[in-house]
């Protein structure tokens, strides 16, 4: 029990650091980005500490738990912990935060002001990590909200194009979403008298009446669905991505979207199993519509960033499909898909950001052709990330999607035939994904270069991107690295659903 300081430390370090940047004043402008790298590196080391302390053979139960009474009148506890469901996401957040910090050192987007940018990124990190560690509904909600403000500032101040509108749409959607979610939480808390996510998951939530469960589940899912984003609540995403600066897009796609699907597996499925069994087929339908819709819309976009944004709608559709099966394979697939999408889409947005920095645009109409010729390494990375994203077996993107399909063949819920139809439609979505990514490569990568040469990938870019490239390959060849952590925890979740099945 000596290492329980690790999780709070992961939150306190970036929080303190952002306070330091706030009080440091103008003189911090010169060292803020390096300071950011330092803090994120400390975070990465702490993360390695968590990995070292984490007992893989006990992945099904909460570890490194911290529990302190906070606002006893409102039943709020400061509870943190980590298990097989959250560990991969916490690790992903630390890693992407570090990558973004390294990238920022030499590439502070317009209009500069590195101190504020780094401070906000660190604050964002607190919210993201906190969301994945929280074991109390109110605490979860608070961290969930902490994320919003820094992201709004990132888009509104460091963005491009219609950044204000995009930032406002983002905030509007997600605030409305989280309000709805909060109402769902409050129903759960009032009906059960507890906000303890572990207790709720271990049978306390099931004691709620069917109607109360259904109401709470619909509200909470609604809020999380906006974040994921599930079709048709996705329209904030393309605008936000198009406007956001590179690091904003990376963290948005890489981590923020996962808060939604994480919340479903962590809270809704085990706490409200009766409702979830009822809702699951509808969730599957929305997921598959998202897969097909995302792919078709992706093909119709005229901007590189919007293509990737819509591809995220499709990929998160596979994650939702996995969850909706309520099966061991499906939920494992969903958690893997979360991680894979975070890594690959993070890399895609980094590369696209690199292209934007060099050409000043992401619109197909004005993008030069022949990136393979003018900047072969950058072109290779674009091709690599695109191929990974279209679900090439042997790279990380494949397993989440494929195993979602396997899960859909034997869903835990009774509507087998319906799920098999969904399975086939989702498989069609995989082909459509190939179509729009090949279109991108044909338009941007291939062709006679209209610009003779372009600066190829620089050293700092390699440093910040290499971990993502490596993980794309490693998890593609050894997905077991994630599954051995998630599987025991997923079995606990599925067990809690088992009682609710007819």
């Amino acid at each position: 029990m000596t290492s329980n300081w690790l999780l709070p430390a992961l939150l306190v370090v970036p929080l303190l650091a952002s306070v330091i940047l706030l009080v440091a004043g103008r003189r911090a402008e010169s060292w803020a980005t390096w300071f950011g790298v330092g803090v994120q590196s400390v975070g990465l080391v702490l993360m390695l500490g968590v990995l070292a302390e984490y007992k893989r053979n006990m992945s099904g139960s909460m570890q490194l738990v911290v529990d302190a009474e906070w606002v006893p009148e409102l039943l709020v506890h400061f509870r943190l912990g980590v298990d097989g469901i959250s560990l991969p996401l916490i690790a992903l957040t630390s890693l992407l935060g570090w990558c973004a910090a390294v990238y920022t050192v030499r590439r502070v987007p317009e209009p500069g002001r590195a101190r504020a940018l780094v401070g906000l990124l660190l604050l964002l990190q607190v919210g993201l990590l906190g969301t994945f560690m929280a074991l109390d509904l109110i605490l979860f909600f608070l961290f969930f909200e902490v994320v919003l403000a820094p992201m709004w500032f990132l888009i509104a101040f460091w963005g491009s194009g219609e950044r204000r509108r995009a930032a406002n749409t983002f905030i509007l959607y997600t605030v409305l979403g989280s309000v709805v979610m909060l109402v769902g939480f409050l129903i759960v808390i009032v009906k059960t008298g507890s906000a303890d996510m572990v207790a709720l998951a271990n049978g306390l939530g099931e004691q709620m009446s069917g109607n109360a469960q259904l109401a709470a589940a619909l509200l909470i899912l609604g809020g999380l669905a906006v974040k994921t984003p599930m079709w048709p609540f996705h329209t904030w995403l393309p605008d936000a991505h198009t406007a956001a600066p590179t690091v904003g897009s990376v963290l948005l796609a890489g981590v923020l979207l996962k808060m939604g699907t994480y919340g479903m597996v962590r809270i809704v499925v085990p706490t409200l199993p009766d409702a979830m069994v009822q809702i699951a087929p509808y969730l599957a339908a929305f997921a598959v519509i998202g897969i097909l819709y995302g792919a078709l819309a992706s093909y119709g976009q005229q901007d590189l960033k919007r293509v990737i944004a819509f591809s995220s709608v499709g990929h998160m559709g596979f994650v939702l499909l996995g969850i909706s099966t309520l099966s061991v394979v499906g939920i494992n697939a969903a958690l893997f898909g979360n991680i894979a999408h975070g890594i690959i889409t993070g890399l895609l947005f980094f590369v696209v950001g690199g292209i934007k920095q060099r050409t000043g645009t992401t619109a197909f109409a004005s993008l030069p052709r022949g990136l393979y010729a003018s900047a072969p390494r950058l072109g290779f990375l674009l091709g690599f990330a695109a191929v990974a994203s279209l679900g090439m077996p042997g790279l990380a993107g494949f397993w989440g999607e494929f195993l979602s399909l396997v899960g859909a063949y034997h869903p835990a819920v009774p509507e087998h035939l319906f799920y098999r139809v969904m399975l086939v439609l989702a498989a069609v979505g995989m082909v459509l994904a190939a179509a729009y990514f090949l279109r991108v490569l044909r338009r941007v990568g291939q062709g006679a270069a209209s610009q003779a040469t372009m600066d190829d990938v620089a050293a700092d870019e390699w440093l910040s991107w290499t971990p993502l490239i490596a993980l794309t390959v490693v998890l593609g060849l050894a997905p077991v690295l994630v599954f051995q952590v998630t599987d025991p925890a997923v079995r606990m979740v599925v067990e809690s659903v088992a009682g609710a099945l007819p």
Binding site: W152, A156, A167, N168, I171, L172, Y173, V175, L176, V179, V180, L182, V183, L186, I187, V190, A215, P232, F233, T235, W236, Y293, L296, A297, Y299, G300, Q301, V328, V329, N332, Y372, F380, M392, P393, G394, F398, W399, F402, L403, L405, V406, Y409, H410, L423, V424, A427, M430, V431, L432, A434, A435, L438, R439, R442, Q446, G447, A478, P479, V480, F483
Partner: protein, 615 residues
């Protein structure tokens, strides 16, 4: 790591090194490129020497749905014989490429992608786990896309690469869903176990093999998913030789052979295969007859020959299919490399630019002639024996000795014999237009290719000449393919030619030669734009049935997304923003806007909660 895995990893390592060290010298890149498949060839030879193999599944350590990476491998006669062929052809293609791609600025990545392809193909060959198989299967498709698009400055190459990827990917919907069904119903990913379980339930067998067949039609370029292969000739000739003649397109046939007991459990699927094979076999051969481009003749010929293999599988003879797969790999790789040599010398692959090259390119002439004789099926070349084995299999089926109905056997037998005549005609036409008669096209000095290119031709001519004899009773091949097979099938000696089939095929061949000799080909080469030459409108069918409807859907969805949904959601937003404006009157700036939106939302939340809790 076990030997079969080592065999897969060696070319993969060559690929990674080639890609990482992109800036190295040509000599270094070439050395690595040849070393990969050559090392794999040595491993394959060692595996072959171990015969008989003790345990068919060498490494089942890491299998199961959530326990990938699933590297279980199968080593039996089927796997080892095909692996030997793959490594042999890949090595020769890499050697040939050193000369053929001499002026290619992107040689290093080109050679690396071929190495990666070799690894993927070997993965398919030795895979003992369905997931391992899927990985190899899809990575092959990726490499095919990359290599067809090698000259991505050219519009044709870009288009052909995308077409190849997407058409095969459409088949892969079936393949992937089929694998999901197989895993889902049998609960295992180990191929022999899954196949055994699936073949005991005819419904499962029909559904799973029917779905997987779709993927096979795409990969092995069978009707109606065949039209990507002729266009794929936009890739360099060595790529066509390896990927689009000898290996990847044969992988579909190989996978059916690997899963064969499951297919045998479903006469319906076998019948469908037979019909598809017959349409493809004859249709492609007729289309080959009017092509104006040397490589496109060979491409349509490949489609037609692959159909012989599929037909053999359909009438119950896995051994005949594998036999023709191997012999076709040798003579068709030889033909493509020889065509590459001609293109190298003439500077064009159009038949209107060739003719009369016999004296100036003697080695290429001799080897290509051998290849064409084998393609036509002249005794005693390999193609004669392997094609005979297909005919014999069809004859057996027609006599009612197999799971399919006798009419299926008759159909295959008749169409296969007719196709022999057409094959003889287009092969003779190609031969005459290339080598005899007057020289057409621009006048320039023609020289034989350098040794680095013609030695591989000679080395491929050896098995093209002799491989057929392995099929005779005394020969090794039947014993080989059967040796320690995980699925013992067919009777020994089934590959030996029969009297009836020899009579039929010789007659057909003579008819074909007669037609070929009477044709006045050089006066009517055409521009390849006639309805027949363009493949009987299949491309237009793709366009009307798939591409256009999809583009309409894309337009609808895109308009819908930027219109309806946006507006609806903005409507919801407007209310909130409007109330925010009230708060904002006394304040200015964006921070305030955020705070006000958040506050409004919070108020709404509290109200809803109070209502919810009160009721």
């Amino acid at each position: 790591m076990t030997a079969p895995l080592v065999m897969v990893v060696l070319p993969a390592v060559a690929a990674v090194v080639g890609l990482l060290l992109g800036g190295m010298s040509r000599a270094a890149a070439a050395t690595i490129a040849v070393a990969g498949p050559l090392a794999a060839l040595v491993v394959a030879a060692l595996l072959a020497a171990e015969q008989p193999w003790d345990a068919p599944i060498v490494d089942a350590g890491f299998h199961g749905v959530l326990q990938p990476f699933p590297a279980a491998t199968v080593v039996d006669g089927l796997a080892v014989s095909v692996a030997l062929m793959v490594c042999f052809v890949a090595t020769l293609v890499q050697i040939y490429s050193i000369g053929y791609m001499k002026d290619e600025p992107r040689y290093s990545s080109y050679a690396a992608f071929i190495s990666l392809f070799t690894a993927a193909m070997l993965a398919v060959v030795v895979a003992g786990d369905l997931l391992f198989l899927v990985v190899g299967w899809e990575v092959m498709g990726l490499c095919s896309y990359l290599l067809i698009g090698q000259n991505w400055e050219q519009h044709e190459a870009r288009r052909a690469a995308v077409k190849a990827f997407l058409v095969t990917k459409v088949g892969d919907i079936g393949f992937i869903v089929g694998v999901v069904v197989l895993i889902g119903t049998t609960g295992t990913t180990l191929i022999p176990n899954a196949v055994q379980a699936a073949s005991s339930d005819s419904t499962v067998a029909t559904v799973a093999s029917g779905l997987i067949l779709l993927g096979v039609l795409g990969k092995s370029a069978q009707f109606p998913l065949h039209a990507w292969l002729p266009d794929a000739m936009a890739g360099p000739s060595p790529v066509s030789a390896l990927i689009h003649a000898a290996t990847m397109v044969a992988a579909g046939v190989y996978v059916v052979a690997r899963l064969y007991p499951m297919f045998l459990a479903s006469p319906e699927v076998l019948t469908a295969m037979a019909v598809i094979a017959c349409i493809t076999m004859l249709g492609a051969a007729v289309i080959a007859l009017v092509q104006s481009d040397m490589k496109r003749v060979l491409a349509w010929s490949t489609v037609s020959q692959l159909a012989y293999m599929v037909a053999a599988l359909a009438v119950g003879s896995r051994d005949a299919a594998v036999f023709h797969l191997l012999s076709h790999a040798f003579f068709k790789a030889l033909l493509f490399l020889a065509a590459g040599a001609v293109i190298h010398a003439v500077g064009s692959s159009a038949l209107r630019d060739t003719g009369g090259l016999r004296q100036s390119m003697p080695v290429t002439f001799m080897t290509m002639s051998i290849g064409l004789l084998a393609l036509v099926g002249v005794f005693p070349l390999s193609g004669f024996f392997s094609k005979e084995s297909v005919l014999v299999a069809a004859e057996h089926a027609a006599e009612g000795d197999e799971v399919v109905a006798p009419w299926v056997g008759w159909l295959v037998l008749v169409v296969a014999v007719v196709t022999i005549a057409v094959t003889a005609a287009y092969a003779l036409r190609l031969w005459m237009l290339t080598w005899v008669g007057p020289r057409r096209g621009e006048a320039r000095p023609i020289h034989e290719t350098p040794p680095v290119m013609y030695v591989p031709l000679v080395l491929l001519a050896v098995p093209t000449l002799l491989f057929g004899f392995t099929a005779l009773d005394v020969g090794a091949l039947p014993t080989w393919i059967q040796a320690n097979a995980t699925q013992p099938l067919a009777t020994p000696g089934a590959l030996t030619p029969g009297l009836l089939t020899i009579a039929l095929s010789v007659t057909a061949l003579l008819v074909g030669v007669g037609v070929g000799l009477r044709g006045r080909w050089s006066s009517g080469i055409g521009d390849g734009r006639s309805f027949l030459a363009r493949g009987l409108g299949v491309d237009a069918a793709y366009d009307w049935l798939a591409v256009r409807p999809l583009l309409v859907l894309v337009r609808w969805v895109t308009e819908f997304d930027s219109g309806v949904i946006q507006r609806t959601v903005s409507g919801v937003g407007v209310g909130t923003v409007a109330s925010g404006r009230q708060l904002q009157r006394t304040q200015r700036g964006d921070v305030q806007r955020y705070v006000s939106a958040a506050l409004t939302a919070l108020i709404v939340a509290v109200v809803i909660t109070l209502v919810a809790v009160a009721t």
